[in-house]
């Protein structure tokens, strides 16, 4: 299973970002969440919530072979990632990113722990 998003339902509350950061980093910092929320306001007035769709392009292009497929989701191997940024450049949905204070690229690993805590049911598991 992997994570999919249904943007039509998103209220923009960013709880998923904070949730993700707590699951993966034990930090109260939504900027470390692997989901991205953008709003288009005032017209038409809607949110888009984006997350890795596990297309695997980053894994194909990674020069260090630091991104591997594990239980249908691509995950970053922290000890192999050199933060070269190739994955960020090739990602078609801008769903993998680098931070100064983290040793490896951050992306959704399909843990699905956020799913039951989206109040809008905008996060759902999907078969891959």
């Amino acid at each position: 299973m992997a994570l999919q998003t249904i943007s039509d339902r998103c209220s923009g509350c960013r709880l998923c970002q904070l949730f993700c950061a707590l699951v993966h980093f034990s930090e109260n910092n939504p900027a470390k969440g692997a989901l991205r929320i953008t709003g288009i306001f005032p017209d038409p007035g809607q949110y888009t919530v984006t997350v890795c769709d596990q297309c695997g392009l980053c894994a194909e292009e990674c020069p260090e072979e630091a991104i591997i497929l594990k239980d249908n989701n691509y995950v970053v191997l922290k000890d192999k990632c050199t933060k070269c940024g190739v994955c960020v450049d090739v990602c078609p949905t801008q769903s993998i990113f680098l931070r100064e204070d983290e040793p490896a690229a951050i992306k959704c690993d399909g843990c699905l722990e956020c799913v039951p805590y989206c109040p809008r049911e905008a996060l759902q598991p999907k078969e891959v």
Binding site: S11, R14, L22, S26, N28, R120
Partner: protein, 615 residues
């Protein structure tokens, strides 16, 4: 120095006169004594504003402050407080706002942002974690709230959270608000005019650092439990579709819905402007503040002969003040008025009051057609609301006087208009008609920013225990005035508690997990009492002759029985209002003029404040 958990940890101090930006660490004792948000604002206004400062002069200080629970993992942790000496009242002013601004400021590492002085040219402030810049805002000056926020999003990026003022703030209109996220406001007390006087058009912030939590695992577990409970409460599904407009029916059935400039408490067309009318006719999106499971923001779209509007709302207060109070009987019209006032950057509560006051003045011949630029105005007419709104925002014609608020306007116009100038302390009354609701009446009379509902929303208590019953009412108001503003100090929204029925004990339980502080809920309530006495002391210090007469309800509330609806023929009246006030002062430890007694201030650890008032 050990880590101060639950806080961004820094105070940002910006002097717009000298263009100097400085940062300091948040003091631990200050944090423990004043909690955050409203508490920080109250103490900083007391400390930083020189006595007698002109609210629209460079000596006034604008403060933005979040609380220890702002931006933390728990339901509806979005809140941030905007404060200044109020140009609307001349006294203590603060206004609370949701959205994402407070969490972003805190995640950038700041609990407090102080803005002093005044720039000679328009500026905006960009806060990007450690980097803070004062930039030229000439290209934004004169723009509406929506266009300003959109332009800054395009300039800086969608991940910046932005608070702006509209043209009304620039024009020093005393009901000018701060707007954020295309529809969230710090509406009350004219804080937008203070920003305007400093030529501060906007603050944009991006925070990517987060903040330290004492026990992240415990907070995460408890926070999940809190969400799990809310998801199962019946109110979760009942309130989400309709937002705060859901209570329109209840207010009308109870006869407390402000109608025709608070002439009465019942609007016969209420079913055309209630939560269901809103949901079924115009809502396009449920829009949520940070971490909120119950998004009360109803993003709406209307297309009227007057124009198109996309607006977050109308929420209940706007429904009440433009709907009942100006008698707009279609939700689409209210939404349009809401959009216009948001874009101009004006509070819809005071706005709906002033428009209704102006229409009543016109009906009674106190304002002439010439005063209005040759256009007659009437209740129930969207064009009248639009016309008066634009006059106010631009300070044109009689709008220049109305921009001062109904207190000043009525004092100037005279001819009996003081009787139906619906305000306390110069702040217009929110959307609950209190003539036959003793606790709500007292709550308005004693609210520490003027007649605002949110310090003690006592109307439900009145109706539950008996509206004219007096016993216990003053005590309830005091209790609520500590409890409800405590949430504004902590940085959380009351919606889960008041509307959805979520128990407050959960906040008490998660507070130590986030802050590492051993302060109990009772201790936090005592600090809230300290904050309440401090804001009262601010009034005493700043307003010459401040006392009991400032806690007086509007004439209409004291003398005119309710003419229609469930409270028809009812009136508590002046004697009861005075009796309630006596009891309230006694319970508060204030003298018969409503001045905090020295012993009370000392008991609350405000010895320096006692010295200032008594020596």
């Amino acid at each position: 120095m050990s880590v101060l958990y639950g806080y961004g940890g820094n105070v940002l101090d910006i002097d717009l006169s000298t263009r100097r930006v400085s940062k300091s660490q948040l003091d631990r004792d200050f944090a423990r004594q004043y909690i955050g948000g409203r508490g920080f604002v109250a103490r900083l206004l007391w400390d930083l504003i020189p006595k007698g400062a002109d609210p629209l002069g460079p000596d006034n200080v604008a403060v933005v402050a979040s609380g220890p629970l702002t931006g933390a993992f728990l339901p509806s942790s979005s809140k941030v407080e905007f404060g200044a000496k109020s140009p609307a009242t001349g006294g203590y002013g603060d206004s609370n706002m949701g959205g994402h601004f407070g969490p972003a400021l805190k995640h950038a590492g700041y609990d407090v942002c102080i803005i002093r002085g005044a720039s000679s040219t328009p500026v905006y402030v960009v806060i990007d974690d450690d980097i803070v810049q004062i930039r030229d805002a000439s290209h934004l000056w004169g723009k509406g709230s929506y266009a300003t926020e959109k332009a800054l999003k395009e300039e800086l990026g969608d991940d910046f959270q932005i608070a702006v003022i509209g043209p009304a703030g620039e024009n020093l209109v005393k009901i000018a608000c701060i707007t954020h996220d295309f529809g969230r406001q710090a509406g009350r007390c004219g804080i937008g005019a203070v920003w305007g006087s400093k030529r501060l058009k906007a603050i944009a912030v991006r925070g990517s650092r987060g903040f330290p939590v004492a026990d992240p695992a415990a907070m995460f577990k408890k926070g999940k439990e809190m969400f799990d409970i809310i998801f199962k409460l019946p109110g979760f599904k009942e309130w989400t579709p309709y937002g705060t407009a859901e209570i329109t029916d209840w207010c009308n059935k109870s006869g407390v819905f402000p109608t025709r400039n608070f002439y009465t408490g019942y609007f016969p067309h209420y079913q055309q402007i209630n939560g269901r009318a809103l949901r079924n006719s115009i809502v396009t999106l449920d829009k949520g503040c940070f971490g909120c499971p119950i998004p009360c923001g109803k993003y709406s779209h209307v297309n009227l002969p007057q124009g198109l509007a996309r607006v977050e709302g109308p929420e209940y207060e706007t429904v009440a003040l433009f709907g009942g109070n100006c008698e707009l009987s279609r939700i689409e019209e209210i939404a349009f008025a809401n959009w216009l006032f948001d874009d101009l950057g004006m509070d819809t509560i005071s706005g709906g009051n002033i428009v209704a006051f102006a229409i009543e003045c016109f009906e009674k011949g106190i304002i002439s057609e010439d005063d209005l630029g040759g256009k007659p105005v009437r209740f129930g007419d969207l064009d009248s609301v639009i016309h008066i709104g634009k006059l106010i925002a631009n300070r044109h014609l009689v709008g220049d006087l109305l921009a001062e608020g109904v207190k000043t306007a009525s004092a100037h116009l005279g001819r009996g208009s003081e009787h139906f100038a619906i305000h306390v302390k110069g702040l217009e009354v929110s959307g609950y008609e209190p003539r036959y609701a003793a606790a709500m009446l007292l709550a308005y009379m004693t609210c520490d920013v003027g007649a605002h509902h949110n310090r003690a929303w006592a109307i439900t208590y009145d109706i539950a225990v008996g509206r004219d019953k007096l016993e216990g009412k003053a005590a309830k108001v005091v209790e609520l005035q500590h409890l409800r503003p405590l949430l504004d100090a902590l940085g959380i929204c009351r919606f889960p508690w008041i509307e959805v029925g979520f128990e407050l004990r959960h906040y008490a339980e998660i507070f130590p997990m986030i802050t590492g502080s051993e302060q109990t809920w009772e201790e936090l309530n005592t600090l809230s009492e300290r904050i309440w006495n401090l804001t009262r002391a601010f009034w005493v210090r700043e307003v010459p002759g401040f006392g009991r007469s400032w806690d007086r309800a509007p004439g209409r509330f004291l003398a005119d029985p309710v003419p229609s609806g469930a409270a028809q023929g009812k009136l508590l009246g002046e004697d009861i209002a005075e009796q309630l006030l006596d009891e309230y002062y006694r319970l508060r430890g204030w003298d018969e003029q409503g001045i905090p007694k020295r012993e009370k201030l000392l008991e609350l650890g405000l010895s320096d404040v006692a010295c200032a008032l008594y020596e």
